[in-house]
């Protein structure tokens, strides 16, 4: 018999102060307290972090890969957003 489902959580770790929390992986837990304890056991056995976030996976809204073109393509055509688009004489030096 297949067990009842236990919610899925996403785990984020800050490896040192000054760095952002980074996605480390997922786990299943009944509630936030258990998720945090499991995250500690599962993802920080070798001093990987100083701070943990656990987020219910269902709380994340993701962009659809099928919309990739519509979402991200326009930036490729807007090259004037990059510093290399502009010409500054060499004599001016680094800018």
């Amino acid at each position: 018999m297949v067990d009842a489902a236990t919610p899925l959580w996403e785990v984020f770790i800050r490896s040192r102060n000054g760095l952002a929390h980074k996605h480390a992986g997922s786990l299943h837990a009944a509630d936030a307290t258990l998720a945090l304890q499991a995250a500690r056991d599962l993802y920080t056995r070798r001093g990987e972090g100083l701070s943990l976030w656990v987020v219910p996976s269902s709380a994340i809204t993701a962009s659809d890969p099928a919309d990739k073109g519509m979402m991200f393509e326009p930036t490729a055509s807007k090259i004037y957003r990059h510093p290399t688009f502009y010409e500054v004489p060499e004599e001016v030096g680094h800018m």
């Binding site: 018999m1 297949v2 067990d3 009842a4 489902a5 236990t6 919610p7 899925l8 996403e10 996605h23 992986g25 997922s26 786990l27 299943h28 837990a29 009944a30 509630d31 258990l34 056991d41 599962l42 056995r45 070798r46 219910p56 996976s57 269902s58 994340i60 993701a62 659809d64 890969p65």
Partner: protein, 331 residues
């Protein structure tokens, strides 16, 4: 990001309605070394192959805790005990990273676990051999983890992103496993005559089953072609097996142990150690459930799962009660 929060995906079968253009785009992306992520289009066969491979890999890590767990309470020193405990805990972690990666393909954790417990899913043949003496713990770390590493390093470049990322984590942790095993063997090999004999006996029993871990010979292997094209696999079974033999033989010689293969010889021209014939009938039997410990491993796993049922139920009930209290307070 593993955002498939759905524990079971009802339209898993309709999602891969394949049109030729989509298929061609997928093949081109893979050929181009692009990574495939959970919500991307993938052919149904790619999804099926990966679900099977990753979940079998996860099951192997979980069942793999048993042969070594058998010696935790009898480790010869506190140093060895702490290392073994940490190693077995790592193997559990590997199983859980891998289940999470498999779930992103649309099969729920509960279903995957059920496939193991019902005997529908397979796990690595190696874990159906018994650990008779302490030297077996050395042999497992050195040979079994050594073979696993050979297999897993190329998987870090697997075309499926979540699997590749899980493998990177796993590989970082594996090297301690192999080194602690080799250190045990080295210590025994340099110990009393009796200790050396124990190390040799363990090597004799684990050598051939370790070679079988790489799977059937290339000529007989059924899944390889598409796995290679899809960049799930980077090397064939025989190629990986040869790499393992070449790496391991000198390590055995260094500690003065003899490999239990009268046909083993160095092919100087090719730069490879040539090994004798593997008993594939034994492999078939172990996979079919007739190895020395298959029944025991499954019975232990099922019992552990059943014994934990009340904990899972209590945690769920508590979470539901807390959620209800919160809603009531907010109302």
């Amino acid at each position: 990001m593993y955002t498939q929060a759905l524990n079971a995906n009802p339209d898993a079968d309709t999602r891969d309605l394949e049109d030729a253009a989509q298929l061609a785009r997928f093949e081109a992306r893979v050929a181009d070394e692009e990574r495939i992520e959970p919500n991307d289009f993938m052919p149904a066969a790619y999804r099926r192959t990966l679900t099977r491979q990753i979940s079998q890999h996860a099951h192997s890590e979980i069942i793999g805790m048993q042969p070594e767990g058998n010696w935790i309470t009898r480790a010869p020193s506190l140093r060895r005990k702490a290392a073994l405990l940490a190693k077995v805990q790592d193997e559990c972690g590997h199983g859980l990273y891998l289940y999470a990666a498999a779930e992103t393909l649309g099969t729920s954790r509960e279903e995957l676990v059920e496939q193991l417990l019902s005997g529908k899913a397979k796990y690595s043949s190696i874990f159906n051999y018994p650990t008779l003496t302490w030297a077996d713990i050395g042999a497992i770390g050195w040979l079994v983890d050594g073979a696993a590493i050979m297999n897993q390093i190329p998987l870090c470049r697997c075309s499926y992103g979540p699997y590749a990322r899980a493998m990177i984590r796993v590989c970082k942790e594996e090297s301690f496993h192999q080194r602690q095993g080799y250190e045990i063997m080295l210590t025994l090999a340099r110990g009393t005559a009796e200790q050396k004999e124990m190390a040799q006996d363990a090597l004799n029993r684990w050598w051939w089953p370790s070679l079988m871990m790489f799977g059937p010979p290339d000529a007989a292997s059924s899944h390889s072609d598409s796995s290679m094209r899809w960049k799930i696999k980077r090397f064939s079974n025989d190629e990986l097996r040869q790499k393992f033999v070449d790496a391991t033989v000198p390590q055995a010689h260094f500690i003065g142990l003899t490999l239990p293969d009268p046909d083993l010889s160095f092919d100087a021209a090719a730069g490879h150690w040539r090994y004798g014939t593997i008993d594939w009938e034994e492999f078939k039997q172990v996979i079919a459930g007739n190895g020395p410990c298959n029944r025991d491993r499954m019975a232990t796993r099922r019992k552990a799962h059943e014994d934990g049922a009340w904990v899972r139920e209590a945690a769920r009930a508590f979470a539901e009660k807390r959620a209800a209290t919160k809603t009531a307070a907010a109302a």
